[in-house]
């Protein structure tokens, strides 16, 4: 068995006009990568029958696998079935399996089956139906010029389920076992790609070539991927996963399983386990930390009150920050942020707190406290800690990063971390 050659055909007027950005092909590429397959060429065209037929013939002649995405819908500009029938020189016919699916789908939605829906059951004679658990349009597979052609829906979540549950297992049958890729993902906070790469180079210099190390920078989390595509790699992986996990130490949030959880969700789960409540006192992040917490379902278990105290007068009034502290030290100071934390704890009766005050910019910086300066106070009510960091990023990135750091500092308290986070090492001032 040789590695099959894969090409991709995307169809849709909206892809040509720039009205939508195509994320489906990245999804398909990532899924195929886990099988050790790479897409060699990708063509995108508008909904035009002669163009489609021509392109299908060209691509099928060059590839072992062709995935066609889009054009399965009920409207007149959905032309994939028609184009495939023409290209493969068969007739279009009603498929009872497809009709049964559409009928039960409409029933489930309480909708009546109409003419356009029925069109979705008219498919090339002899094609193999691919189930669609998420939508009305079934996928289908035909073989043409020795190429397996998979026709898939354009709606991303329909495509995703069909890919993972139907198409990948089907393709897998054709691939040499030793080529199949195994990917492990680790969620990391507080380390940049280049820093981590440097740490690996220095501290794990004998990292094996059979385990590909990849990074996907996200905001706020970095995903570290360990990919193996050889038997050698597969067997070595657990050992090296442990090594890099030790290296990451408490920067490692979790291994990603099905759906990755965010920083806030990890934190809330730990708070709930320990039956602790948290409160927030925010100046420069303006409610973002509270918002990140309450975005998660079930957050009311651990979060009852948050304070957005933007002006000095409000810091005094709501959180009882002494006016003298504000006058003597300023709003962006250790004394102020500590007083904010204490005030929020007192007002809310929470057990833990995160308080932030900083210069988000673009205005408001000074020589001693330039834009990007931020004081944080955090921890358990019996053990508050403070730090001053310099994070000279544009306003909204600054807010996002500071809010994430706030959540991470609390997470580290909850796991009793003894390690100093890299962002403190790199960005601490004073």
């Amino acid at each position: 068995m040789k590695t099959p050659k894969v090409q991709l055909l995307l169809t849709g007027n909206e892809l040509m006009t720039g009205d939508i950005v195509d994320s489906n092909s990245a999804m398909i590429a990532q899924q195929l990568k886990e099988l050790g397959l790479q897409i060699s060429r990708k063509v995108t065209i508008a909904d035009d029958l002669p163009l489609l037929i021509n392109e299908i013939n060209q691509l099928a002649a060059q590839a072992d696998i062709l995935i066609i995405n889009g054009g399965l819908g009920p409207t007149v500009d959905d032309l994939t079935a028609q184009a495939l029938a023409k290209a493969t020189e068969v007739t279009l016919t009603e498929h009872s399996q497809a009709l049964a699916h559409i009928t039960s789908w409409c029933k489930k939605l309480g909708a009546t089956l109409n003419e356009p829906n029925l069109k979705q059951a008219i498919l090339p004679q002899g094609c193999e139906i691919i189930a669609n658990k998420q939508g009305s349009a079934v996928g289908f597979k035909v073989n043409h010029l020795n190429c397996d052609i998979y026709c898939t829906p354009g709606v991303p979540h329909e495509l995703s389920t069909m890919l993972i549950e139907q198409i990948k297992p089907d393709i897998m049958k054709k691939i040499p076992k030793e080529l199949i890729t195994d990917v492990t993902r680790l969620q990391v906070f507080g380390l940049g790609e280049s820093t981590l790469q440097k740490m690996v180079n220095e501290q794990l210099p004998d990292w094996p070539s059979d385990i590909e190390l990849g990074f996907r920078a996200g905001m706020p989390l970095l995903e570290v991927k360990l990919t193996t595509n050889s038997l050698q790699g597969h067997t070595q992986k657990e050992h090296w996963q442990q090594k890099i996990s030790s290296l990451l130490d408490d920067h490692l949030i979790a291994q990603v399983t099905d759906k990755p959880l965010g920083l806030a969700k990890h934190l809330l789960l730990k708070l709930e386990q320990k039956n602790l409540k948290i409160t927030t006192a925010e100046s420069c992040t303006g409610g973002l930390i509270a918002s990140m917490l309450t975005r998660e379902a079930g957050s009311s278990q651990s979060f009852e009150a948050g304070f957005v105290t933007y002006s000095n007068a409000i810091k005094s009034k709501l959180l009882a920050v002494d006016e003298e502290i504000l006058n003597n030290h300023g709003a962006v100071s250790e004394a102020t942020v500590l007083a904010m934390a204490k005030g929020a704890l007192l007002q809310s009766s929470a057990d833990m707190v995160i308080a932030v005050s900083g210069v988000a910019g673009p205005e408001g910086g000074s020589k001693n406290k330039p834009v990007g300066t931020v004081w944080l106070a955090w921890g358990h009510k019996n053990n508050l800690k403070t730090v001053c960091l310099l994070i000279p990023l544009p306003r909204s990135h600054f807010q996002q990063y500071v809010a994430s750091i706030g959540l991470d500092l609390i997470r580290r308290e909850l796991i009793n971390s003894q390690q100093t986070a890299q962002y403190i090492i790199e960005r601490q001032v004073n």
Copy 2:
């Protein structure tokens, strides 16, 4: 002059592996659309010299204009110049204009010119240099098989500037004047695409075919585009823009000029004009409204305090919501949300307030107050209003939409709107 046929070639391994989602081609399509041009075919391939040469020859033979994106960088996998030299059968040579640009670019960054940088000045003999104001890699243009080939950088902001300032004006010379497109964009909140389309069909039935009406759904704003590509259309547009503006009424936020402002920014500008301060009292949105306001630079002029009161006890303690109200009416009620609004005004000394309490889900719904139920209280301290809406969306969409409605209700107060917003007409309960 006929309309030129445009094709697009994207190159880059990262586009094939799914590590990045291509947004450049949508950007190119949008810019070309303003010239009345559509991309007919788009091919994406990895960084592979023979593939590139073959693809360039095929595409150039079929098109009048070919835009190649990517592969202009300094590393070994940047192959565009090399591929074009091979395809057009010329040699690669150092271009003094390109070298001067790279030299001054490195100087500007305080970096020393190195070998890889120098490679970016080695381009096909006889090509025309296209300036890059945003990065080190110049673009270039060659003619091959009667097709104008524009080679552009993959970095989005470099591409954007080059497209708008260099390539569009160059292409425009080749296009019949009457085909050039003129686009007007209107920012709208609170009307869905289909509702608006129906309103236009019913109330402006004689909408002229020379003015294309398009929608781009965003969260939270909808963009309405009026596109004309004929002299007839251009001259009629102002008249019809006024008609649709009247139809949109106070759902129209603003005409988009250079960089569209968000809902929060529009609101903050109006508050500042009128020298008014606003406060927030949030339950189900959990700080998101405060966060949307403070994301904007200068928000401290009009926003000093926000309250996130997630539990009943905290609503009583921080905002002095009477416990009897909570017991008799529940947290999601008119009486509670009104008391929250009054409490926040009192505590903050603000002039205006938005208060929300609702069932964000997925848990917590009941027969009388299902998931998606939300009470809002808002307005000037002397004139508070309330409404109950049903917005059965998934949690994070619910929060986003409710927060946006909160901001919009205040915006409508500030412009003394007499119109009932469509979201109230459609979603009001009780």
